[in-house]
């Protein structure tokens, strides 16, 4: 059977040119892969920026960068990683590819809108990176664009702001598409509580995308208008209030943190049952906790502003609400641990990444509680402790989950198997490297090393040097993953439809999937993760009739 690599639907019917066949394709699988190609290019550019900063920070004093260049570098790293990579990341790539497959649908609800999202994303990328080459220098505000600095700085903030605005629009459209797809195109019989948990993660994410992104969109638009027309909403010399900018910015950007992690949690909930050969423990609790995290996530933005002028009562309320997020998150973690308890765990590469991510995320989450408490936050605010905390959650959590998901679905996407040995070594390098890189930062931050500074006191040298070594380790791990995937593509064995003995719908169709996924749509009246003596309980024949 020809796969989606061989034939496709495009915006303009049948096109002969293979490049045009890709960039005008309205097939969700191709669009997901196009996102992936662009995003990982950007990811490695941002990793390059990070390594440059680490090299500069290897010893106190100036090494080879100007302070202004350093400011632009960390802004580039932040903007690229946040707006171009991790916020759209999992939904646009794996989500786009897997959502219809797991729902038993032939595409998303609005395939052409899906392509439009990709084009808007590309436009945002081009605009965002354009200031790198136009000569005025990249934005130097940090990815948060805090007013009034972002209104006053001479650096080229305008194109970056516009890019962020357009990327927001792209993200909204993806979220909208997913919400409608999940409501409308579930296979017959599949009610909400028979959906795979990755879909639950994407569903919660999609609502955050839809409801939070417009707030930051309009806020960034106001900054654009301040710079071009001088409107004055956030400009203190005209009576505007820069703290309001922070409020509006974090009303979006805090839920956005959960927007990054929720699809990651979804991946964990897919991988664990497949590699423990057991039903996931507490399916309903995990599903509901995704929705609760999304809901509570709206109410906690104030914890970013404990030091920017806020009443004590507001600080106490925000602190309390912040602690509350730990409850559904804890529910998830305990459910995962309970799933593994007495299971026959198969330690293949996706499982290793997921286990690593759970460990890292637990460290990141618990240090988040220290920062959510008002007292410690006053001490730790804007130190390397914060940097370590969010890298533990985002890099050690989300990106580890993302990479785990990439390994997990690699056979489905490519039809090939990668080399397990290489995959495990790459994980080992990355996991050890990650912890070597970030753990010293907790200590440096606790002792008072501020973040974002181009230089530091000699007392902190040892922490930065250990970090530098860790950075090299994790970078080599990442390069090795790319090599593993490349080699799998070149000379990997054929994967077959279901190499992991997984249970969800995407594993019942050929790898790589055919153009419209399902020749016949199955009827789904069973739970998503059911095993019987290590084998998937539910099996279909080629016409999607239940045979077990």
């Amino acid at each position: 059977m020809p796969s989606f690599y061989h034939e496709t639907h495009t915006l303009f019917g049948h096109l002969r040119n293979p490049v045009l066949q890709w960039i005008f394709s309205i097939d969700h699988k191709r669009i997901g892969l196009m996102y992936m190609a662009v995003m990982f290019t950007l990811f490695f550019m941002a990793v390059g920026a990070a390594l440059t900063m680490r090299a500069e920070l290897f010893a106190p004093g100036a090494q080879f960068l100007e302070p202004q260049t350093y400011n632009e570098l960390f802004t580039f790293h932040g903007v690229t990683m946040i707006f171009l990579f991790i916020v759209p990341g999992i939904p646009a790539t794996l989500g786009n590819f897997m959502l219809p497959l797991m729902l038993g649908a032939r595409d998303v609800s609005f395939p052409r809108l899906n392509l439009l999202s990709w084009w808007l994303y590309i436009l945002g990328v081009i605009l965002g990176l354009s200031s790198l080459v136009t000569g005025q220098g990249f934005a130097d505000t940090g990815w948060t664009f805090y007013a009034p600095y972002s209104i006053r700085t001479d650096a080229h903030v305008l194109s970056t702001l516009t890019a962020a605005f357009i990327l927001g629009l792209s993200s909204i459209l993806t979220g909208l598409n997913f919400v409608v797809t999940i409501h409308r195109l579930r296979a017959p019989g599949m009610n909400f509580f028979k959906m795979p948990l990755f879909i639950w993660g994407l569903y919660a994410t999609a609502w955050i995308q839809v409801l939070a992104t417009p707030v930051v969109g309009i806020t960034l638009l106001l900054v654009i208008l301040e710079r071009t027309l001088g409107v004055g909403i956030f400009d203190p010399t005209k009576g505007g209030d820069p703290v309001l900018f922070e409020h509006l910015f974090w009303i979006y950007s805090h839920p956005a943190v959960y927007l990054m992690i929720l699809p990651g949690f979804g991946i964990v909930s897919e991988v664990l049952p497949a590699f423990t050969r057991r039903t996931i423990f507490g399916y309903h609790a995990i599903a509901i906790s995704s929705a609760s995290i999304a809901g509570i996530g709206y109410l906690v933005w104030g914890h970013h502003m404990f030091t920017s002028g806020m009443s004590d009562l507001a600080r106490i309320i925000f602190s309390f609400l912040t602690f509350l997020v730990a409850v559904p998150t804890g529910v998830k973690i305990f459910d995962w641990v309970a799933t593994m308890y007495k299971g026959s765990i198969i330690l293949s590469t996706p499982m290793l990444w997921i286990l690593g991510s759970i460990i890292n995320f637990t460290v990141g989450g618990l240090t988040g509680l220290t920062l959510g408490a008002i007292g410690p936050d006053i001490h730790l605010h804007d130190t390397y402790y914060v940097v370590a905390h969010f890298h533990y959650t985002i890099l050690g959590g989300v990106i580890f989950m993302f990479i785990g998901g990439l390994h997990y679905w690699y056979p489905k996407i490519t039809g090939k198997l990668y080399d397990e040995g290489l995959g495990r070594i790459a994980f080992g390098l990355a996991f050890v490297g990650f912890n070597t890189l970030w753990f010293p930062m907790f200590l440096a931050g606790f002792l008072g090393n501020p973040r974002r500074y181009f230089d530091y006191l000699p007392d902190f040298t040892v922490y930065h040097q250990i970090s530098g070594i860790g950075a090299l380790l994790i970078a080599s791990g990442l390069v090795m993953i790319v090599y593993t995937f490349y080699r799998g593509l070149r000379s990997g064995r054929e994967a077959g439809p279901n190499p992991w003995n997984a249970t969800t719908l995407e594993w019942h169709i050929p790898s790589p999937p055919p153009l419209e996924n399902f020749a016949k749509i199955p009827y789904v009246d069973f739970e998503p993760y059911e095993y019987d003596a290590g084998e998937p309980l539910v099996q279909f024949d080629e016409n999607f009739r239940r045979i077990r």
């Binding site: 909208l176 017959p188 009576g239």
Partner: protein, 215 residues
């Protein structure tokens, strides 16, 4: 086209939803889109409220400068235009295509008149030297700077939505002509009607906020 079926373990058929011509999906998608619009305008209303609380007196004073009659006329125009647009959809569903075309055309015309009046109003302010970043405005009280800053941003953004509405309604007219919208297939028209309803609702809130607090 025949309805596709999926069969359960007992052999019972169940209809399969498809993304082509999914009426419910198109409707749901548009409602979700309107939620994002509501969040966006909501943010601006929040900003308005906060600064109104801080600078009530200068807000009231600057509101007095706006022409409540022009604004009021525009409000009436939008109210009527929503009515004609809704009526147009109803007519189309009853198969009275020509009446529908006339009603959508009338709505488009009213939207253009709205924009014209809005242009006159902006022009009045600008000729007094009041626009964002102008020396005259920046010399005024901080509350007034914020009031007029928000006035231009919010009515400007609303105006952009009206312009988009004109484009959408022209598109609807083209679709009716080419058969893309038919009495039994009106989802595009319904969504544009919903959009126009939303645009008019935003104005219904904008009008008292900017024009009436000074009366």
């Amino acid at each position: 086209m025949q309805q596709e079926m999926a069969y359960d373990a007992q052999g019972q058929p169940h209809p399969v939803a498809d993304f082509h011509d999914d009426y419910g999906g198109a409707k749901l998608g548009f409602w979700v889109f309107l939620m994002t619009e509501a969040m966006m305008f909501g943010t601006l209303f929040l900003l308005f409220a906060i600064y109104f609380y801080r600078h009530t007196e200068s807000y009231v004073a600057s509101s007095g400068h706006l022409d409540v009659w022009l604004g009021g006329t525009n409000t009436v125009i939008l109210l009527v235009s929503t009515y004609t647009m809704g009526l147009g959809t109803m007519m189309l569903r009853r198969g009275r295509v020509r009446a529908a075309v006339l009603l959508v055309g009338a709505t488009t015309l009213m939207a253009l008149i709205f924009l014209g009046i809005k242009a006159v109003e902006w022009n009045m302010e600008i000729s007094r030297g009041i626009y964002p970043g102008s020396g005259v405005l920046d010399a005024l009280d901080r509350g007034e700077i914020l009031f007029f800053g928000l006035y231009f941003v919010m009515t400007g953004l609303h105006g952009l939505h009206v312009i988009a509405g004109v484009a959408l309604m022209s598109w609807v007219l083209l679709l009716i002509r080419s058969g893309g919208i038919r009495p039994e297939h009106t989802i595009a028209m319904k969504n544009v009607t919903l959009y126009w309803d939303f645009v008019h609702l935003v104005w219904i809130v904008l009008f008292p906020l900017f024009y009436m607090i000074g009366v």
